[in-house]
């Protein structure tokens, strides 16, 4: 595809998004809650779209399609179990929302610190989130750089693609905070889903006589791809190792769980949850069918992740649709990166700076948070240009690393006996376990890092908590308030 056409498409995309971001800024209040949480008044539809765009990254049409290409239907199981992780939001969403409103929490890590009565809990959890999410974001930019380079036949240099994506992400975020992110995410989610569905229809009908024809060919030529372990990639250990940490994604990833503070009401949260589920279900099926199509049309690929760019260059999909798919994948990556940047910035100003110096007023806190938006972007950009092996390892470790927050989060709402020492030990030792196992490639008992980090975190959280004194007064006040409200609002 012609490089100038791609640049023009990205430029137009940037202009449209920037107009939306500037519109969002006009309705932005001046406080920290306004900038980072859209004033806790997000409508359900926008909330659903930003939740979807933030959750689904470039991984779907590139990585998941690649998983399907090499591993078959196990990729569908992995992704749909991940989607079913929204079950956790049915239990925890209203709880986050209620205490967020009552105690004015800005970040999930601030909530943990307050609930367990320890500033160290906030600081350590926030630092852990930064360590695991920066490489994860860098990989998103790396994905865009590689995609644009591949689709343009090398005419768009890798560094140009990465830089364009970073500029778009930082400009929209800086312009109007979460409101701009949410509104531009809505645009991006709409682009992601529309072009993905459109492209898969083109592939099915132009290459296979419809979806029935595609599955009939799959059953005939690659029957093992419709079973697990099937071709072998998704053996039981790999399946559990990949899927288990991602099942807890809605709680473990702060850029997602922070969104539980944002809806204007529980009714709006309901629209957010249901909207996301429908979006996720369709987007998952599209990505899987994309992977199956690549298996049939491109049987000899050496790198599974190249299935999408190669398929796009095959003239099955019209050029304009291929261009839109490229935009859709870029949108998926940018919408994930800008939400992470904003979430990490809010954690730095609230959990790190405000805990170290309590004198900071709201104006200064917001200023610090805003300064970290471009700083984090530069940091992510630098990581993306380095393309170190460590970045890829840390990125893969992100789900296993962030999983270690989950025992503390569950304990905050369901276990009075949980203590700050329990949280600190589980987050620090669990996080280190994830990093060491991921980087070394060591898999004791053939179990994946995410399974080990989960076991270590749960054991330490419970064990150390039982040996130390809980913040009894805070736990009773916190849970007493919640129980009254949950009963009143008929929340399970």
């Amino acid at each position: 595809m012609d490089a100038n056409t791609i640049y023009l498409a990205l430029f137009l995309y940037f202009i449209v998004g920037s107009i939306i971001a500037r519109q969002a800024r006009r309705k932005l209040g001046s406080g920290v809650n306004d900038f980072f949480l859209a004033g806790r008044a997000l409508g359900g539809v926008v909330a659903a779209l930003t939740y979807s765009a933030t959750t689904y990254s470039a991984f779907m049409l590139v990585g998941l399609a690649g998983f399907t290409y090499i591993g078959g239907v196990g990729a569908l199981g992995f992704e749909l179990i991940y989607l079913s992780g929204l079950i956790l939001v049915a239990f925890f969403g209203p709880r986050f929302w209620l205490v967020g409103n009552r105690y004015n929490y800005l970040t999930p890590t601030e909530m943990l610190g307050d609930r367990y009565g320890s500033r160290a809990v906030s600081i350590v959890s926030a630092v852990a989130a930064v360590i695991f999410l920066i490489p994860y974001s860098a990989v998103q930019l790396i994905g865009i750089g590689a995609l644009l380079e591949g689709i343009s036949g090398g005419a768009i240099p890798y560094i140009a693609g990465v830089s364009v994506a970073a500029v778009i992400a930082v400009y929209w975020t800086w312009t109007g905070g979460l409101k701009a992110v949410a509104w531009t995410d809505s645009l991006q989610a709409a682009v992601m889903l529309t072009v993905a569905v459109l492209s898969v229809i083109f592939i099915a009908y132009r290459a296979f006589d419809g979806f029935g024809g595609m599955f009939a060919q799959l059953e005939a030529q690659y029957p093992q791809w419709l079973t697990v372990p099937g071709p072998g990639f998704f053996n039981v250990n790999a399946f559990v190792g990949l899927t288990l940490p991602w099942f807890f994604f809605s709680l473990s990833n702060p850029q997602v769980s922070q969104r539980l503070f944002m809806p204007g009401s529980l009714g709006q949260m309901r629209i957010m949850v249901m909207g996301f589920l429908i979006f996720g279900f369709i987007y998952t099926l599209v990505s899987i069918i994309w992977g199956f199509s690549a298996r049939l049309l491109l049987p000899d690929l050496e790198v599974a992740d190249s299935a999408t760019p190669v398929l796009l260059s095959m003239n099955i999909v019209p050029n304009i649709v291929a261009l839109l798919v490229m935009l859709g994948i870029s949108a998926a990556a940018i919408s994930t990166v800008n939400s992470i940047i904003l979430s990490l910035s809010s954690m730095v100003c609230r959990d790190v700076f405000k805990n170290i110096s309590r004198e900071i007023d709201e104006e200064r806190e917001l200023l610090i948070g805003r300064i970290f938006v471009p700083l984090f972007t530069l940091f992510i950009l630098a990581f993306a240009t380095l393309r170190l092996d460590l970045i890829a390892a840390l990125s893969v470790a992100s789900s296993a690393g962030l999983l270690v927050m989950v025992p503390a989060l569950i304990g905050a709402f369901f276990w009075k006996r949980g203590t700050a020492a329990g949280v600190l030990s589980s987050v620090i030792v669990g996080g280190l376990t994830a990093m060491i196992l991921q980087y070394s490639g060591w898999r004791p008992l053939d179990l994946w890092p995410g399974v080990w980090s989960g076991i270590v975190a749960v054991t330490l959280f419970i064990g150390v908590s039982l040996l130390t004194l809980p913040p009894k007064k805070k736990a009773e006040e916190f849970l007493g308030f919640l129980n009254r409200e949950l009963n009143r609002r008929k929340v399970i």
Binding site: L83, I87, L218, S265, V491
Partner: protein
């Protein structure tokens, strides 16, 4: 059913179907069923059941204005 009983019911229900989503496709007959009506259909039905159940649970949530 009281809220506490509902909590236990849904936790057990989801626990069972999630466990099934991890285990059933790796066992016969789905393990050997090389058809779109095997694991592909199973996981889709699993996801749809989750979506419907979450629709039921969230429909019961009440805001201050009674909605």
């Amino acid at each position: 059913m009281s809220l506490k009983q509902q909590r236990i019911f849904w936790a057990l229900f989801f626990g069972v179907i999630i466990l099934a989503a991890f285990v059933v496709p790796f066992l016969p007959p789905l393990r050997d069923l090389t058809s779109v009506y095997g694991s592909f259909l199973f996981w889709n039905v699993f996801a749809l059941v989750v979506i419907i159940c979450l629709g039921i649970i969230t429909a019961r949530w009440r805001d201050d204005d009674g909605r």
